[in-house]
């Protein structure tokens, strides 16, 4: 895997800021850890939900990951961005939880939905689209789900996602490509209705 490009100025400042927050959290300053939790709670919960589907399970996994990160903060390399380091822990926590959970599988996506089934009530349109997207996401392989969420939702680079998922950058590109192809069909069908 190629080394990532040097981060731009804003990213460098954020990285320095996060390294400082981590150092303070390690020294026992809980406010510093609180800032990190606030900053990454959203992405951690979304990534966990992309893996697990169920929001309660996702929140439990995100919480476990954040507490695990707190215990392991000493292992964080401050020369690297904090986000991918934390999200790797989140991804592992969510994957572990999904493996342990043998039941409560998400039902396969209803073909009628993807093919543009009956249009739901207009007041529930947004909710229905969200539901369809979650179902479509659940149909994708786990790694593909995480890749597209990290790239299109969270704005991470291919290199950063490769670090999170522990796969080559080229594989990340491929996963994002295939996930997008599937999800764009769904969105296009929705717009056409």
């Amino acid at each position: 895997m190629a080394d990532p490009q040097p981060p731009p100025q804003a990213a460098r400042i954020a990285q320095q800021d996060e390294a400082d927050l981590v150092a303070r959290a390690v020294s026992g300053e809980r406010e510093a850890f609180g800032v990190l939790v606030e900053r990454y709670a959203g992405v951690a919960r979304r990534v966990a939900r992309a893996v697990l589907g169920n929001p309660e399970d996702a929140d439990d996994a995100a919480q476990d990951a954040m507490l695990s990160a707190l215990v392991k903060l000493q292992q964080y390399d401050p020369r690297r961005p904090f986000g991918p380091w934390l999200l790797r822990i989140v991804a592992n926590a969510a994957t572990d939880r999904r493996r342990r959970r043998s039941v409560r599988r998400v039902e396969p996506l209803d073909v009628g939905l993807t093919a543009g089934g009956p249009r739901p009530d207009t007041t529930a349109e947004r909710r229905a689209l969200n539901e369809r997207l979650r179902e479509a996401l659940a149909e994708l392989p786990e790694r593909r789900r995480m890749a597209v969420v990290l790239f299109d939702v969270e704005g991470y680079t291919h290199g950063e996602i490769a670090a999170v998922l522990g796969i080559p950058e080229g594989t990340v590109r491929s996963e994002v490509f295939h996930a997008r192809r599937r999800l764009r069909v769904l969105l296009a069908d929705w717009k056409e209705e």
Binding site: Q5, V37, R46, L67, L70, D152, V153, L183
Partner: protein, 112 residues
């Protein structure tokens, strides 16, 4: 770096927005409060704490090894003196294998 694959490098804003909304769990303050409350009971493992833990185990192991070593060395040093017979012991004590000597002598006399 030249990209080997013709994939779009920019995030898809429309898809990203739709997915974000679909995955948004809501009630962020409650989640953050929950994590921070649990974090109060979590101890951060600092290097000095780790070293201190290993140091305690190391000191205990070294003490045990020293005591065990001292015991065996002391026992080894003491045991030869304890079992070494004195001159009088040797003279008074009966021979270790008296029967064998008598048998040999008897057979020699008998042959003569």
């Amino acid at each position: 770096m030249k990209d080997p694959l013709p994939f779009d490098h920019r995030p898809d804003a429309v898809l990203g927005k739709a997915l974000r909304e679909a995955l948004d769990p809501g009630d962020a303050p409650a989640f953050i409060a929950r994590v921070l409350a649990r974090a109060e009971h979590v101890r951060v493992a600092s290097w000095d704490a780790v070293l201190a833990r290993w140091a305690r185990a190391g000191v205990a192991a070294a003490l045990f090894i020293a005591l065990a070593g001292g015991y065996f060395v002391g026992r080894a040093a003491a045991s030869p003196a304890a079992i070494r017979p004195t001159v009088s012991d040797v003279l008074i004590a009966p021979p270790a294998h008296p029967g064998e000597v008598e048998v040999v002598l008897a057979s020699v006399i008998g042959n003569n």
